[in-house]
Every structure is written in C-alpha cells, then in structure tokens.
Symmetry: D2
C-alpha cells in the first residue's frame, strides 16, 4: 500500500493562538503520528487548503477531488475539519477506483487528551479493509458518507438512522 | 456492536516502577482511551492475567479462550504484550464465530509518545470490518496471526513473507 | 506555608474551542498540577474573574487586590493571562505584608508541550524564597513587576533594561 | 546567569525498556524542557555518570564534585535519581562559592503525568534566589540537604523534623 494523506486543515492540525494572533495551522499531525507509531507501509502526507473547514469553498473541494484522482494509488485518507466533512465527502463520491476515508479530531493533536491518534488509527485500518467508496471515520465508527451527521451537543458523529 | 476488550497486561498497560518497586500493571489503558475519544458503540473492558507476556502459560491462554467463547457478542479485542501475541493468537484460532483482534503497544499508554491510541484505533476498525478469524494489529497493519513475526531490532511487526 | 492560588483566567487555563463555540476557561490547571506533583504544603486554589486578560477592568483588579489582602497567609500566586500581568501587578503593589507572584503560560496547560508546569514550579519556589513584594515569573526568570515587558515577537518576557 | 545542569541519570531521564532490553537512560530531559519553555538565561546541560542512583559510588560523587568546582559560574542544578540525592548532596557540601540545587522526578519526564517540568521549575527559581550552599528541591519544597529524607511509602520528600 502507498497511502496518500491529504491534510486539509481543521481542528486536528490546530496550534494554539491567542486573541492577538492570526489563525494558524501547524504542520500535519498525521506525519508525526505515522512516524511515531512506525507504520509498516509507505505513505505521503500532503498539506493543502489549510482553512477552517467552515470556510472551504466548492473550488477547494474540486481541488481536493482533483488531487485524489491524480494519485497513482488506491488508498487516500483526508484529515479534515469536522464541521464540513460530509460536504467534502459528497464531492469525493465522484472519484473512481479509490477507497477514501475522511477523518478529523474533536481535540487538536497537540493536546494531551486528543482523539487524533485513535481516529487516525481507525482511518488507517478502514482504508485498507474497505472496498472502493468514500467513508467518514469518527468516534470509532466507520460511516457511509451519505448517512452521517455531526451532533454538536454530544461532540459525536452519529448515523442518520440513529434518531437524532 | 457490543465490543469485549480483554486487557491481558503487557507494555500498553505498564506503569512506571523503579528498581526498588514490584512489577506493576495499571488500570487498562483501553478504558481511558475509548472513553476519551467518545466511541459511539457499547464496550466492556475486562482485566485478567496481568502478567508480562513472556510469563504467560498455556493455562493462561486457555482461560482467555474460554472467556472469549463465553462472550455473547462477536467482536473481541485483546490488549496484549508484544512478545507472545502470536502464541496467544494461535490458541484463539480455536474460537468459533468470533472476530478477534490482538494488539498492544511498543511504548506504554501513559507516555507522551505512545503508540497505544493509534494501535487501538486500528484494532477497533479491524474488528468491525473483518470476517471471523484471529488478527494481529501492529504498526498500522492487519496481519493474519499465522503469518506475522516481531522484529525486535526494528521495533516493528512484519509479515513472514517480507524476508526478515 | 498556606499558599493561596488565584486562577484569574488566561492562556494557562484555556480549553479548546472552535469557531462555533463560546470562549471557555476550564478548571484551574494549578489544582491538577499541584496535586499531581504531590506538593508538600497546604494550598487553596480559587477561581475568579475568568476573562481573557485583555478584557480585565480596573474593577476586576481591585477585586483581586481585595481577595489577596483578605487572605490570612503571606504567600499568594496569581495564574494570569500574559498580556496584562504587569497592569495587575502594579495594582497589587498596594497589598501589604504579602509575597505575591504572578505567572502564566504561553501554551495552555492541556497541551503536550506546555510551559505551565515549569512556570508554576518557578512561582512556587519564588513565593517561598522572596521577601514581601510583587513579582512576575516567566521564562525561568523572576522579574520585578515594575521592570518587565512582554516581547510578543519572541514569545518571551524580558527585563526593561535588556534593550528591547 | 550562566546555569550548569548536570544530568546524572535517575528516573527523570528514564526511557521505557522491557524485560528483554538493557537499562537505558535517554538524552537529558532538562535540555528539552528548558528549550521548550524558552528560558531567558544561558544554560549548558552536561550528561555524566548515567547510572541508577542506587549504583552510584563514592568515586562517581567525587567526579560530580570536581565538575561542579571547575564550573566558572556560581549556579548549578543536578538532575538526579531520588534514592541517593542526599548522599550526593553531602559530598557537594565541600564545593565552595556555589549555589547547588539537586532535583529529580518521581515519574519520568517522558510520561504524560510527570513531575519533571514542575520540579525543574522549582530548582531554576531556587538556584537564582538562594545563597551559597546545597539544596534539594522536591514536592514543591526547598530542603536543606542535611535535613531531608525520602518517604518511599508516600512518594514524597519530607523534612527530618516533620516526624516521619
């Protein structure tokens, strides 16, 4: 497997910034995590867009789709802000012959009590085991991108069928 | 999914102990991690054996097999010392109608630079997506328990076919 | 020593909040740190004000002064946002018979790479060893509150005499 | 201030090692911490001895004394295993014209819940504020090296006069 990781921005890559500083995205957390755990496969992490996911445009999503389609391999993970994962996933449904997993974190990777490491682990297993398509991995679950919603109050993603 | 996690001991659950103290295993890291990342499924973590995996006996492995077989659900993760995962996996091959994933960590979960969170994420996705059988998840890969070996020098698990 | 710690807010106690959430201050980091390191003296941590330090008013500072003066003991540490430490310190110069140390953090205590633990250690030693007065502890140094300035670009506090 | 930090070994610098590995001491934690918190003074960290403090010999302590005496500056911190800090301190009482602070950690610096950062902060403030002599800093207190003892059961250092 040659895994492509696209680091699009979002909470997972946020660094601390105070009221007098500009919005900042750090180097991709995925790189540090995949190296630290010594994954036994080839991977490339590419950083692009680097916006709060609430500010991503249709053009941004087309650019992501284009990069995904140009990737020579089958396996792609997108680290993404949690607020618009679903929108991006719906655009990526147009990619052919790829297994694409979108994931993110509720707490930045630089925090002691982050969910970034765990969520990336879920995504790495999912991208290897699932058939072609677009999936969203959060809270230890693998969701079909057409059947998932973020429940802000609970801080969790949930299946559309779970009666929110 | 009702996931059973058996915490058998090993590096993942190690706490610090100095030269004048006894060997100690802490409370299962899996409990803290699964709660912290707010997994959206039911799980039970049960602690048993609590030995260094080098000291596990055949009787210990039969006890684990027995607990796995008695579990009413299909999905089981075993957090395990890395030195004898394969031996335990071979005994668990006798369990019927279960998807069993064995995982561990090279660095304890209480360390800043642990691989425990990531590895547990891989295991959680694997146990949901794989068919019945016994698997070993380490270094971001999912191995057939009959075809994997620990490479101590590299600090990695590798497929038997990878020419160690 | 009966140490009073006033947790006023600021970066040290910040929790993660995203673009759709309100500003949030968590429980005081000082409590968790002082318990974790098992300090061998009595202490009380009291939370008050809980604003970004840029929004603190003269009335807020008078309220802090009042609490400090009412404390039965001599030793007081104030955990404070880094932008207006000096202003608060100048008001606290009116307190009599107290050793008051103001400190904070450039990175929140909940981050892996925080300076909160170290800075609080400096403050705890300073409050025990210094004579009555108001001091500011940052970057491993103990400053006279009348002779210190924050250098935003360097992310450091510096003595007024160091030729900024 | 030109601070000399001697990293002698002990819990603070321990890395994880398992039953099949040799005892290991990592690079000095003091270097990483002092850089991370951006201390505003010059320092040099020198690693020597690198044994469990229970195995230190009289010759080791004479070597430390010699390095301390040769240091051109006045301020010295020794990061040390907690079991024989007092013995080392008593040898260092022979050093003239130095302020020497001995400190360590109950939990290694690489752990999430370490006391290393805080304890080093205490030592850094103590070495700047105290007069010449040898001091031991643990648990947020500054002890005279002739009047302190480690209470193993409590995981704390205590003054000899506190009625252990």
């Amino acid at each position: 497997m040659k895994l492509l990781v696209l680091a699009i921005g979002g909470t997972i890559d946020k660094v601390y910034f105070d009221a007098l500083s500009d919005y900042q995205i750090g180097t991709p957390a995925a790189t540090e995590i995949l190296q630290r755990v010594k994954v036994n496969f080839d991977f490339e992490v590419r950083q692009m867009i680097s916006k709060d996911s609430l500010e991503m445009t249709d053009a941004d999503r087309q650019e992501i789709l284009s990069v995904v389609q140009d990737h020579s391999g089958k396996h792609v993970i997108i680290t993404h802000g949690t607020d618009t994962m679903v929108e991006t996933g719906q655009v990526l449904n147009q990619a052919a012959h790829k297994t694409i997993v979108i994931m993110g974190a509720m707490q930045p990777a630089i925090m002691k009590l982050t969910d970034a490491d765990f969520n990336l682990g879920v995504a790495v297993a999912a991208v290897q085991t699932l058939s072609e398509g677009v999936y969203l991995c959060m809270n230890g679950r693998i969701y079909d991108v057409d059947r998932v919603v973020k429940n802000r109050a609970e801080g969790q993603f949930q299946d559309l069928g779970e009666g929110l």
